[in-house]
């Protein structure tokens, strides 16, 4: 992998992020309604003087360009995303920080489980096409792939939480519980995690399995697999050393793309299980018209997608020398 290729990918990612930051500025200023009114809400007794005061305090009385734009760019690159309108007294960065970890935990684990199970299942069903596992696995994959998160989540919730009482219905832990030790606390989080995690993993596993299955099927007809067979290698060796590495390539892009959907998926799963992550935050911020927070979520999300794609590009070129151009 040449240094030039790496540099080019990094520069291109940097430019994309810069453009996103600008877009973020423009987009949120095109939103309907005057910001000072959103800030003040429907306060009784608000006088025009109070409105003017708010405009001045938030710098809304200054021209959009250059004043507002310059101060926006400077503070954004200093990591200052302003204050949340609705969560009174908290900065956007604080709000995002507190909500990022629950989402990372849920979707990080969910992705890992889905990747491992999905790829194994896909590889096996592809390799043993027509076997029991292929029929069961492929059928289940298609059903799961087609089921929306909220439906799957609600079904799991009603069955395992409300009816069987095996797991808690909502939240990430039990508020106010005194834990004897760290393991008890982890256990509590774990119990809260089971259902949302199952929803995420089940929702994702289908697409990985389907992709991996067709990818394996493709490689099975390749000449190098025939050659390997002709050389008398065992089936296991052919799968491990020849078919799998080649079949894995398309899944790398799928993982990168999926990272971009973390928040989109998070919204529905987190809302169903009231998981205190970025998804519920986005819904709350939308309902409250908390534009600074939405802007923050948007920025975080787009930067994640850019980095995930950068990582995929670099990994891809490492795995497949053909793309290093």
């Amino acid at each position: 992998m040449s240094a030039r290729y790496v540099l080019r990918r990094i520069v291109s990612a940097g430019v994309t992020i810069f453009l996103i930051v600008i877009l973020n500025f423009v987009l949120f200023r095109m939103m309907p309604g005057s910001p000072e009114r959103i800030l003040l809400g429907r306060i009784p007794n608000v006088t025009p003087a109070a409105v003017q005061g708010t405009r001045e305090r938030w710098g809304l009385d200054k021209p959009l360009f250059p004043d507002q734009f310059v101060s926006y760019m400077t503070s954004t690159f200093q990591g200052d995303l302003g204050f949340s309108f609705s969560m009174r007294g908290q900065t956007v960065v604080e709000v995002l920080e507190s909500r990022l970890w629950p989402t990372l935990l849920l979707f990080g684990l969910g992705e890992i489980i889905a990747i491992v199970v999905g790829l194994l299942l896909g590889a096996y069903s592809g390799w043993k096409r027509g076997g029991i596992l292929d029929f069961l696995g492929n059928g289940a994959s298609l059903i799961l792939y087609a089921t929306p998160y909220f439906l799957l989540g609600m079904l799991l919730l009603i069955m395992f939480a409300t009816t069987l009482h095996w797991f808690p219905t909502f939240g990430m832990n039990t508020p106010g519980r005194d834990y004897a030790d760290i393991f008890e606390e982890l256990g509590d989080i774990g119990r809260h995690l089971v259902l949302p995690l199952a929803t995420v993993s089940l929702g994702l596993v289908g697409q990985y399995a389907i992709l991996m299955r067709s990818s394996i099927l493709d490689t099975m007809t390749e000449d190098y697999v025939t050659t390997a067979r002709a050389k008398g290698l065992t089936e296991g060796r052919i799968l491990r050393s020849h078919a799998l590495p080649n079949a894995l390539l398309p899944t790398v892009s799928l993982v990168a793309i999926n990272l971009g959907y973390v928040v989109a998926g998070a919204i529905t799963v987190e809302v169903v299980f009231n998981w205190p992550g970025l998804g519920t935050l986005t819904v709350d911020a939308l309902a409250a018209r908390d534009y600074p927070v939405l802007q923050g979520v948007f920025l975080l999300l787009s930067v994640t997608v850019v980095f995930a794609n950068l990582a995929a590009d670099l990994l891809y070129s490492f795995l497949d020398p053909r793309v290093r151009t």
Binding site: P32, G33, S34, R42, I43, P44, N45, V46, A49, A50, V51, R57, F83, S86, M87, R88, G89, V116, V117, L120, A123, Y124, G130, L133, F135, L136, G139, I143, M154, L155, L157, I158, M159, A161, T162, T163, H165, W166, F167, P168, T169, F170, P175, G176, R177, D178, G187, R191, V194, T234, E235, G236, L239, E270, V271, V272, F273, N274, P276, T280
Partner: protein, 633 residues
């Protein structure tokens, strides 16, 4: 290889199952800990600084922690709060509140008159400096009473008002501990964006029965019993308020027993809880209403209404004859509400009056009134006085009311009026509504719209929305301006005799009804649900028209008892009484009979099992049919 991969897969699945199984038993285990009241709401738990309060949830959180000078009892009557006795001078301009002796804050510091003085002075100073404090929702309770000055004489807190008033005992002003709050400037209390803003993070120092000890913004607030609370201790050791993004999840949590109380349940879900064991429902009158508003200054200079007809009370009156409010209640609210008439809702049993000559739904009458008022029907089109066919825009905030709009569109089209119905994003709508009096950039570019208002224990705040001075503030958004109404407002504000005040308030309601600036479509019910197997003693506040929690003050919490200690728990809900002037009012629903044998989720489980069997059978059938083919390959 086939086996090895299969074995590995099987191992992973087994490991997962093992982990899952390890978690399951612990999931059901309930540690014998404090007795917790878990209450759910879909409103946000976003502030512990009372001055920033906006929603019912915000109000609930502060009123449990901080005493008001005079609090609210189970019937919304005045009961001792921070003060144990109170009195007013003969001219009702000097008000004396005796602060209870020996009272302490939750941190052990003495709670004295000084704290009340600090709090009231803070509001007075903020209003003088800024015009409002925080979200601006609490200071009007003092400004509306004409409060001039406050002082302490020993344990007596003395407030002087500019004009006679009886409303100081209703002031929704939480008394704050001076030793905590005086460390912060007005700006640090008022403005959430300044350096050192005081968010009042836990542990909160309060004087109410419970104080916050833990807070995850927009997630939950946990409160513990205040050991220094002056009154009878509440039975729950802790109260946890949980915020829900989705009311369906909230209802599931109530069913599973993780919640004891759910506030703000949607009509469909509310109905679905009717047969649920150990769950009782409470349908309370809303202290507010949803309304249809008219741009009554449509063609005034600087206004952008589409027709001068909107300015004519007779035209608006005719349109209101073509509103079937009962149908809206039945079809839009699933019956959970009461058709609207006057701007003081029936929740205010003592103040609400029905109009002397109510309008009914009568399309023929509406058509006749339009023609009589000089709006002829030409080729099926209703013409205004400028000879233009009338087309009205009807809009609503994007959150709600599309169904209402559809009905109204249908009715008004029978009058020959074309209705252009569309939703508008909330912030755009707020901008649209304001008239030029609110600011140079506003032009009231609308004809009719639907929204809602909510009120206080006293009807004054709902009445205050339509005084002339509220046009400039952007609150009176149908531009109602009536000298008699303004006069009556001042009279009721300063009235010291309840009967006289009732007279003024009745006249205001009738006057507003006749003028038809806006028309309440319905008083939509507050739908709450709660479990009866953990706590009993749920008491609606007020008994006929309210709900157990999320009312005024905190009597609902102190009335609760531990259900496990009561030998034969029975229905405790107070039977409903219809408010005057209404026949089909919301009623408190008594808990269903104790039928614990069946659960509504059982059919679902059976259904799930059936689906599973069908899927498995289908797959095997497919395999059998495809089997030979696979072999041929």
């Amino acid at each position: 290889m086939r086996n090895r991969l299969g074995v590995r897969l099987a191992r992973i699945i087994a490991l997962g199952a093992l982990l899952g199984a390890g978690l399951i038993p612990a999931g059901v285990a309930q540690a014998a800990g404090p007795l917790i009241l878990n209450a759910g709401t879909t409103q946000k738990l976003e502030t512990l600084n009372p001055w920033q309060s906006i929603t019912y949830a915000d109000y609930e959180v502060f009123q449990v922690q901080y005493e008001l000078l005079v609090s609210f009892g189970p019937n919304l009557e005045e009961v001792p709060g921070y003060a144990d006795t109170w009195s007013a001078s003969a001219d009702k301009k000097t008000h004396t509140f005796h602060v209870r002796d020996g009272m302490k804050w939750s941190d052990g510091e003495p709670a004295t008159c000084d704290d009340a003085l600090y709090t009231f002075q803070l509001v007075l100073d903020a209003v003088e400096k800024l015009g409002y404090l925080g979200s601006g929702y609490l200071d009007p309770y003092l400004t509306n009473t004409g409060l001039e000055s406050v002082k302490c004489e020993g344990s007596n807190f003395i407030a002087t008002t500019k004009f006679p008033t009886t409303l100081l005992t209703q002031a929704y002003i939480p008394i704050l501990p001076k030793h905590v709050w005086s460390k912060y400037t007005i700006d640090q209390i008022n403005d959430t964006t300044v350096e050192g803003y005081f968010d009042n993070a836990p542990p909160v120092v309060g004087s109410g029965p419970y104080v916050a000890v833990e807070w995850k913004p927009n997630n939950f607030i946990r409160m513990q019993r205040n050991p220094n609370y002056w009154g009878k201790a509440g039975v729950p050791d802790e109260i946890i308020y949980h915020q829900f993004a989705d009311e369906a999840t909230m209802v599931q949590a109530l069913k599973s027993g993780e919640l004891d109380y759910a506030r703000g349940v949607g009509a469909d879900l509310y109905d679905s809880l009717a047969t649920e064991p150990n769950i009782a429902r409470s349908e309370g009158y809303a202290n507010g209403y949803s309304y249809l508003s008219f741009n009554t200054r449509a063609t005034h200079a600087g206004y952008k209404g589409s027709t001068s007809a909107l300015e004519d009370p007779k035209f608006r009156d005719a349109l209101m004859w073509a509103l079937n409010k009962q149908e809206l209640v039945d079809k839009v609210l699933n019956g959970h509400g009461v058709p609207g008439t006057t701007i003081v809702p029936p929740y205010h049993v003592n103040w609400h009056v029905e109009p002397a000559t109510p309008r009914t739904f009568d399309i023929v009458e509406a058509n006749k009134r339009l023609t009589d008022a000089g709006y002829p029907l030409v080729d099926g089109k209703r013409m205004d006085k400028d000879g233009k066919a009338i087309t009205l825009r009807l809009t609503w905030s994007s959150d709600g009311y599309p169904k209402d709009a559809q009905f109204i569109q249908g009715w008004w089209e029978q009058l020959g009026i074309t209705v252009d119905a569309f939703s508008t994003e909330e912030d755009t709508l707020i901008d649209l509504l304001y008239g030029p009096e609110t600011g140079d950039t506003y032009d009231a570019d609308w004809d009719t719209y639907i929204w809602s208002w909510g009120g206080d224990p006293d009807p004054m705040s709902l009445l205050s929305l339509f005084t002339t001075d509220q046009i400039e503030a952007g609150v009176d958004d149908c531009f109602f301006s009536n000298a008699r109404y303004d006069e009556l407002f001042t009279l009721q504000q300063q009235a010291t005799d309840e009967t006289a005040r009732k007279g003024y308030i009745s006249e205001m309601q009738q006057l507003f009804y006749d003028q038809g600036c806006n028309t309440p479509l319905y008083y939509d019910s507050e739908l709450h649900a709660y479990r009866t197997d953990k706590f009993t003693g749920w008491t609606n506040q007020p008994p006929g028209t309210g709900t157990p929690l999320f009312g005024f003050g905190y009597p609902g919490y102190l009335a609760l008892t531990d259900a496990t200690l009561v030998p034969t728990p029975g229905p405790t809900t107070v039977p409903a009484t219809a408010a005057p002037g209404t026949t089909a009012g919301p009623t408190a629903t008594a808990p269903p009979t104790t039928d614990n044998t069946g659960s509504s989720s059982t059919p679902l489980l059976i259904g799930g099992a059936v689906v599973l069997v069908v899927v498995v059978a289908g797959v095997f059938l497919m395999m059998r049919r495809r089997g030979p083919k696979a072999e041929e390959e």
